[in-house]
């Protein structure tokens, strides 16, 4: 059920209507039923039921036992490990078997062994990567004493399967959301209007911008020999924007639906493309994933005995300043590999959204002070518009480069894409008028589409600028009715008329849905 589909719109409308009709005490039951329907929509098999039950029962019973034995750390820890192993085990089995097989095959190749494992097809539920990690976080929080275990298995199931976040997050924490998830909510006209406007903005980003860019990017990626040089460069540079508008647009829809139901979710983006460094970029991009990995992987690693011992040793060998950095980089490396693995069971994800990001952040950390010194010495002002612009563009370019691997179906294809950017032979022929119009014609976009795209990106830019200054929707609702309604109507009809949907288009699926 794509977030931009009519089926999803009808599904949400019915859910919200029933949610506000039934007694407030059982509102959470309505959401649970909808979540179960969403989870198993078009994918109800014995296997998928078992998958969901493994995670639910592991979380529920281990959570209860961890809480029960909170005074007995050994037992409590044993149940925590058991819960994590069960949840992680099913996730690895369902999502990462092929990654494992690919690794074994590579090793076999390396040693000239003939045997090659065949890849397997696993049917996993939507949101498995989200709810598995969310429930691991739930168990860890109980173990740490930050929250108590949920007594009601159905409420536990709602926390696990809350339908708006299944397809694309954000990650939520039990302690932060339990009141809203299980609480009673009165219908609020303001929340409804606010939620609907946010949904519209999400639809605008996905259907008008992301889908349109996607047509270009997909065509270029499908034939990098024909669409080489400037086309390949343009596709690579456009992809982060496609990804962002698709991902943040989905989050807007999710937040909007939740807002209507009175459930507030954590923000997942804060204008990431305004970031001046990759480190800053990841503080503004997929924020809740970063927070989850920091809380449940990075900090525990840093506090672990192994890292602590290493810290001491390194300080002795390399001195205090350098010595303390080495264990930090090791923890960071592990965290970034985990981010890469979470994005998908393929090396492309590990390289694109893991290793390269680590490399950039590592280099920023190492080279940052040197660059600062050089700037000071030669008198470069770093707090001026031009320097900030340079940093922002640099960050965008680095991220675009890393996304070549994220977008590519294989590592070799990512390398081909880079080579394709450098294929400048016969560039004149490539760009002559008739060839250009034929190439653009094959993409399915004409000049009018590019004008609409440019206009939509400009609107996105303005709105993102305003977001940096404050709450845009709040500002909009403070305006007079004529202006307010004109903006909303313009948004609605821009989506309806200029959106890429319906016959002739693929449903606007969330790019991260493959996870």
């Amino acid at each position: 059920m794509a977030l931009t589909s009519l089926v999803f719109a009808v599904f949400c409308t019915i859910t919200v209507a029933i949610y506000f009709i039934v007694p407030k005490k059982i509102q959470w039951v309505v959401v649970l039923i909808s979540s179960v329907i969403f989870l198993f929509y078009n994918n109800l098999t014995v296997g998928t039921i078992v998958q969901a039950l493994i995670v639910l029962l592991s979380s529920y019973f281990c959570g209860r036992l961890i809480y029960k034995y909170k005074e007995n750390p050994k037992k409590s820890k044993a149940f925590l490990i058991l819960g994590i192993l069960l949840i992680l085990g099913q996730l690895i089995y369902l999502k990462y078997t092929n990654l494992f097989l690919a690794t074994v095959n590579h090793v076999c190749n390396l040693f000239n062994m003939d045997y090659q494992f065949q890849f397997v097809q696993r049917n996993s539920l939507i949101g498995i990567s989200y709810y598995s990690l969310i429930m691991i976080g739930y168990l860890v929080d109980i173990f740490r004493g930050s929250t108590r275990a949920q007594d009601n298995i159905f409420k536990c199931a709602l926390f696990m399967t809350y339908f708006p976040i299944l397809s694309s997050g954000p990650f939520i924490r039990y302690e932060d959301r339990k009141e809203e998830l299980y609480g009673e909510h009165k219908f609020s006209y303001e929340s409804m209007c606010g939620g609907l406007v946010r949904i519209l903005w999400g639809l605008f980003k996905i259907l008008v911008i992301s889908q349109r860019i996607g047509m270009f990017v997909d065509t270029v990626w499908a034939d990098l020999n024909t669409y080489r040089a400037i086309f390949a460069v343009a596709a690579i540079l456009f992809f982060p924007l496609q990804l962002y508008t698709n991902f943040s647009g989905s989050i807007d829809i999710i937040m909007g639906i939740s807002e209507i139901m009175g459930i507030k979710l954590p923000e997942n983006f804060t204008v990431p493309f305004a970031s001046r460094t990759i480190t800053e970029f990841w503080r503004n991009w997929h924020i809740t994933l970063g927070a989850w990995l920091r809380d449940y992987i990075f900090y525990p690693l840093q506090k672990s005995d192994v890292i602590q011992k290493l810290n001491k040793k390194c300080k002795k060998v390399f001195g205090k300043k350098v010595g303390k950095k080495i264990p930090l980089y090791i923890s960071m490396f592990i965290m970034w590999v985990a981010i890469g693995v979470w994005h998908g069971g393929a090396y492309t994800y590990i390289i694109g959204s893991g290793l390269l990001q680590f490399l950039f952040i590592f280099l920023e950390d190492i080279l940052g002070p040197i660059s600062k010194k050089i700037n000071n010495k030669i008198g470069i002002h770093t707090e001026v518009f031009s320097y900030r612009l340079y940093q922002t563009i640099r960050t965008y370019l680095l991220f675009s480069f890393s996304m070549i691997f994220f977008r590519a179906p294989s590592v070799s294809s990512a390398i081909n894409a880079i080579k394709s950017c450098l294929m400048l032979n016969n560039i004149g022929t490539l760009l002559n008028r008739s060839n250009l119009s034929s190439l653009l014609g094959n993409i399915g976009l004409d000049m009018k589409d590019f004008i609409i795209l440019a206009g939509a990106i400009f609107i996105l830019f303005i709105v993102e600028k305003l977001v940096l200054k404050g709450n845009v929707r709040k500002k909009l609702f403070e305006q007079n009715i004529i202006f307010k309604w004109t903006v909303v109507y313009a948004l609605i009809f821009a989506i309806i008329i200029f959106g890429c949907y319906g016959a002739g288009y693929n449903p606007a699926n969330f790019i991260y849905r493959q996870v």
Binding site: F493, G502, A503
Partner: protein, 341 residues
Amino acid sequence: MKKFIKSIIFLIIFFVLWTIIFKVLWLDKTTIGYFYDEPKKSLDIVYVGGSNVYAHYNTTLAYDLYGFTTGIMSSDSQPSSSVKYLLEESKKYQSPKLYIIDLAKVGDDLGNIQDGQERKVIDSLKNSKNRIDAIQGMLKYTNIKKEDYINYYFSFLLYHNKWKNINSINIIGNKQIYKGYLFSVFTTKIEPQEIYQWDNNKKIELKQDNKEVLEDLIEYIKVNKLNVLFVVPRRGYINNAMEYINTATDIIQKNGYEVLNFNILDDFKVDFDKDFYNYQHLNVYGATKYTRYFSKYLKSHYDLPDHRDDARYNSWKQEYERFKSNYNEITTNNFDDLLLE
């Protein structure tokens, strides 16, 4: 309460804007769409079928000759599965004395129709239960997946993308001319064709889907007690169409309905050297012969009124005059001279 009223006003404005915008975005109105432009209960005959209907039958000439009015519900390669729904739709707005159904497409493969043929029918129908029935009834014979039916229920899913082709006609609105008859420079062309020989004895069993559609249509006609005449136009046929039509004719006649086959009428003559603009369509000269013959036949066989002295039907006269004037301009001949032949 204030918020509730505000919401209602918001929705009303939304629907007004929606209607205006999609009227502009909707392109390619077919004769089915124009059918709604005729005043209620003003048509004496409703003529349903594919392009042969609007290319062969000059409604304005028939009116000028005998004074009865014919409404056309025709679209390119109209699938036979659509006829029942078009009859039902016309029944809602008109009470014709006679329905004419073109049989040229009766044997066409329903599972293999191109997207567009069924759209031209479905998209032209006003929103109603009949439209929903038409979508389900027509598409079940095609290879269109059920999950894609939504593109038919909500036409904007397809048409929203037509903003790229908007022109002044879309904005100021388009009006039907010649009361549905197709006349243009194109239909004045003369393209000699090979004479098509009709053989009544050649027959092939109708495919299951076509048979089901035909039987369903006959049942509908019987239940609704409609006065119906089936016609087979004079033209060239391919892909065993003649064999299928002969089989369908037997079924129709067995059920007590008349089939008028212009391919076997001794006194109806068209010239394959001069009267066609392509193998399957009569040009304006052939269409004039067809209309003169057929309108005379209709007048003599059915009790059809003469509205020529009724001021309420002036638009028919005006459209005939428009047709004649444009014919004279395009061909540099006088249409009245053609009628003398």
